[in-house]
């Protein structure tokens, strides 16, 4: 941006604005799940290689976020939740967001290939492509199933972390993928229930906009039921154990109770208490995923400290 343009707009992009293009909050979840995927995998990775690999996975995820902000600048401007993002607020141009996204994607994939291996780099490249092209450019504006399929992009990081350590894919990494993949629809639909106005104004075909809130509540319950077996399956895999089993049982019961509560409610009750139950379920969903991965980490720490329960049955994998 020239001095004249920058001065006339009264605001020149700061480093933080470019950083905001990478969606730091999403990136923190990516860093956490990728790190767990890497740490729970068999084998030993040098700490610097592990750190650099997670950093490149995070940069790749951030780059796809920048591409998302470039493509979605028009709808971000309409939605209250996203209107202050760097592109719609005019702090960064859409072209800059695109170039940052493209170059960081290339850098992250190339560096992950050199630092870890080509399987991990290939998975990262596919994740970026899936989020930027399949989800952002295609599904998001065309189908209410957008987040069901698009959720795969957010589910890949633990698989990539696992691939960094092992150089491959296994049942355990697929189960970690499944946990996030099936968790995504109830999580986002709960958000969509109380942010419905935003999505309808922007014309994004979220389920509550296209099929109504009754159907959305039903779908949240269906996906919650589908999610229930994933945790127990992980518990009886090589990365599970009694701690994880206990945690997953408690979290699944809470999540199911929350989903049933949403299913039994109607719009009158929801607007009456300003979507209290929906907001609570949304918060619970964040805790659900976070604590599941913390429990996996705990199992790995116990195993490495030789404190895990001997003879724990491994039926999966």
């Amino acid at each position: 941006m020239s001095d004249v343009n920058a001065a006339s707009k009264g605001r020149d992009a700061e480093f933080g604005d470019y950083f905001a293009l990478l969606k730091p909050r999403v990136m923190s979840l990516v860093i956490f799940t990728a790190a767990v995927g890497l740490f729970v995998a068999p084998g030993v990775v040098h700490p610097l290689i592990a750190f650099a690999s997670i950093l490149f996975i995070a940069i790749g995820a951030g780059a796809s976020g920048a591409l998302n902000m470039w493509w979605d600048a028009d709808i971000d401007e309409i939605m209250k939740r996203t209107a202050n993002r760097p592109v719609p607020s005019g702090r960064v141009t859409a072209e800059d967001a695109k170039m940052l996204g493209l170059w960081l994607s290339a850098l992250a994939v190339m560096m992950l290939a050199l630092t870890a291996n080509f399987i991990a780099a290939g998975l990262l490249a596919f994740t970026i492509f899936f989020y930027a092209v399949i989800y952002t450019m295609w599904l998001k504006r065309s189908t209410p199933q957008n987040i069901v399929i698009g959720g795969a992009a957010g589910a890949f990081p633990p698989m990539i972390g696992w691939a960094v350590a092992t150089g491959g894919i296994s049942v355990e990494s697929i189960l970690m993928f499944a946990l996030i993949f099936i968790w995504t629809p109830p999580h986002f639909w709960a958000l969509a229930l109380f942010m419905n106005d935003d999505y309808s104004k922007a014309g994004v075909p979220m389920l509550p906009v296209t099929h109504g809130t009754r159907e959305t509540r039903k779908q949240i319950l269906i996906y919650t039921l589908l999610l229930l077996p994933v945790g127990p399956l992980l518990a009886f895999s090589s990365i599970g154990g009694p701690v994880f089993l206990g945690v997953t049982i408690v979290l699944n019961l809470l999540f199911l109770a929350g989903a049933l509560r949403l299913y039994r409610r109607n719009d009158a009750a929801a607007t009456g208490d300003k979507f209290a139950a929906e907001r609570k379920f949304f918060r619970l969903s964040l805790i659900y995923l976070f604590v599941h991965f913390v429990a996996l980490l705990a199992e790995a720490v116990l195993t490495r400290a030789s404190l895990s329960l001997a003879g724990w049955p491994v039926w999966v994998g």
Binding site: E14, F15, H46, L48, L114
Partner: protein, 62 residues
């Protein structure tokens, strides 16, 4: 009319942005250097393992 000043607030902001970018790039270079050292170490360890196992294999085949 506003006087033309050498140092506008805009320039200070840009200097800050460039300084942060410089630090990020320096950290990136340091990290690539570190990764190179680790990779070389691993390669050397793998090569010496292979060399050590060769006489043992030869003895076993005799």
């Amino acid at each position: 009319m506003m006087a033309i000043v050498r140092e506008h607030e805009l320039h200070q902001r840009r200097r800050k942005r460039n300084a942060i970018l410089g630090l990020v790039l320096a950290a990136f270079v340091a990290m690539v250097f570190g990764i190179t050292l680790v990779k070389m170490q691993n390669t050397r360890a793998a090569m010496s393992d292979a060399e050590n196992s060769r006489p043992a294999q030869a003895e076993a085949s005799e």
